[in-house]
Symmetry: C2
Subunit: 248 residues, 2 copies
């Protein structure tokens, strides 16, 4: 089985994603936040690229969420901090979400057989889901404005580690690309203090300076939530294959 | 001081390299081989992009070296294996060298203030040389056909580690990009068995299959040679700043 990790959205070629399982990562913060919303009972999330698309999809009862420059979009109900997606406001609701990088990566993957939204919070669950699908896997690190972001690469390493654990026990031979191997090694080095690794990287420093230190600490918690967001009919829902999950 | 690591040649923008110290890495095998030649008394190496350019520069007494598809170019004196550059044949000679990736990366860096050719064999010496120049540093991993190669990234991590050792002791604040930090972490994870890391990566597997296992083992030896190849007037020479070096 081929496992290819791609360092940023603009390096992903849409045609290379056909018939594959694609795992999209945006640890700070889109995929962590969308996972958190689903874990708190949100029924579905439409990931869209632009503010205009978000407003066009708007219906009574839907919530608008997202950020530009790490900040809530004027007129939207919610920003992009996971803590905004934990209260009862999101339970049973559909959310339309637009962020600078993560939602764009999900849009780009639409030719894939399956699209999974992963973060450190659910890396193990995502790896198990992807392993069970038995197709070649592409892991896209969203990055930031087309530049590689450390937190997404480290999360890719976490998922490669978990895929190895799942699949090598079954005797499946894995062909991991050089970038994926490098991320696996980097993950192993920092896994003992993931919060520090995230606080030290570019997005971590930027979010800290904007007052979002708690977001980083939360997003650095590995395997807190056993729920896998997958794309179905253009929206993210909780995969039915994993029913049990841990809340706080 | 800014330290930026770039994953492959095609991601380097020539204009961003002006007034900087640029370190070019092609561990398997161009920069390892060129270093080995200089350490064995070769007086200068012209890195050129094409076979035609190499033949046009040819003069009586010059040697032609290089590879295409890991193999020696027909009609050339030498291939790209470091073991071909160790005997007395190279002492005192000028070599014209063309390889698929490494020489192209050096060509691309020609706007830099200083260009250093680094490999695992001389990572520490290169870091010391670059640190002493007190300019912002760009480290270019040559990669393979525009794709990131693990061995070059790991060597970038080795150099970032050594730069930290040199410069933080002097109180210099380092601003390392996310890709550089990731390579630093990956290097720390694999430094205890560098040969295995190189045998496991894509170029390592390819070179093994072509019978070059000894080349990989040699190229994985860290800080074997205290000599720094720098570009001067279009050719690589041993930097005069470090006079002593270890041979075998």
């Amino acid at each position: 089985m081929d496992i290819m990790v791609i360092p940023s959205v603009n390096e992903a070629r849409t045609d290379n994603l056909a018939n594959k399982t694609v795992i999209v990562i945006d640890v700070l913060r889109a995929t962590s936040t969308m996972l958190t919303a689903l874990a708190h009972g949100c029924s579905a999330i439409y990931p869209v690229e632009t503010v205009m698309q978000a407003k066009q999809l708007q219906q009574p009862g839907y919530l608008l969420g997202g950020e530009r420059g790490c900040k809530k979009i004027p007129g939207f109900d919610l920003g992009n901090s996971p803590f905004e997606f934990m209260d009862d406001q999101v339970a049973g609701k559909t959310i339309i979400m637009t962020t600078t990088n993560g939602t764009r990566a999900i849009q780009k993957a639409f030719k894939a057989s399956t699209i999974i939204a992963a973060s450190l919070l659910n890396g193990k669950a995502c790896a198990k889901e992807a392993a069970a699908l038995k197709r070649n896997i592409v892991i896209i690190c969203s990055g930031t404005q087309d530049v590689y972001s450390l937190e997404d690469g480290i999360c890719a390493g976490q998922i490669v580690e978990e895929l190895q654990n799942c699949l090598q026990a079954e005797g499946v031979e894995l062909n991991i690309n050089d970038f994926g191997l490098s991320m696996l090694y980097a993950f192993r080095q920092v896994q003992g203090d993931m919060t520090k690794a995230l606080l030290d990287c570019a997005n971590g420093r930027r979010l800290c300076s904007l007052g979002f230190t708690e977001d980083i600490i939360y997003c650095s918690r590995m395997n807190l939530i056993r729920l896998v967001p997958i794309v179905q009919d253009g929206k993210l829902i909780a995969s039915p294959s994993i029913n049990s999950f841990e809340r706080f």
